[in-house]
Assembly symmetry: C2
Amino acid sequence: MQSPTADLCLEGGIEVKGLHIFADLYNCPKAELLTSSEKLRQLCVDACRDVGLTVLGEHFYQFGGAKGLQDGGATGAVVLAESHLAIHTWPESSGATLDVYVCNFTSDNTRKAEAVYAALIKALKPRDVLVERVMRGRDLPLKKRVA
Amino acid sequence: MQSPTADLCLEGGIEVKGLHIFADLYNCPKAELLTSSEKLRQLCVDACRDVGLTVLGEHFYQFGGAKGLQDGGATGAVVLAESHLAIHTWPESSGATLDVYVCNFTSDNTRKAEAVYAALIKALKPRDVLVERVMRGRDLPLKKRVA
């Protein structure tokens, strides 16, 4: 899978550049993933490891349901040697926000970022997604000045 | 401090909306913050708590220097009840990337997001910054269809 922004990565060397995919997920039918920090943690950690990213640590938290009327959401972050994954769920809205940011310090990890994102989408099955891709650590307009 | 995107937050209710500030920091002079995961952890956790955000947990990691030629960078994430903060440093480039994402589940936390971001910028003192603000959980174009 090739990101439309991957070419940017090759301009001026890869240094600290890296692809950040940020997505807002709507109408996710699988409530059990939105309401279980443990299932969500396992999903995220496994998705990162499955594509060869290095998990340094993680923290996930289970919210209680508001006013006892609903299941609580879950929230968490996975700290990677290659940057991070973060996810927050709102089961009362069947929604979640997801960030996958994978830097290219030693090699171009763009495909790994896309693969992790695809794995999360496959598991959470949102009907609607707003997703954007940003290349972090871009060359500055002032780069020549400070070179 | 008022974000230029704050008005978006009031369109259609605040539900899961929240301000995500993502910034690439260049030419940071304070190497001791870029090379110490412990100092960086303290800075990030304090900045969140100082503005009244709820820290649920965090994970920071100290990299060793590459080939013994340099101090290693640091990386970490703070999981908040209101979403997350994530930071990754590249001391060899005097750079870092920073994410501050604060949702508006119970109230408009836009000012808290901006205050945390300002605190980190004040501490890290980058000469150059590329920063963008995105409102997460935006109303979908299809919202009426799925309402």
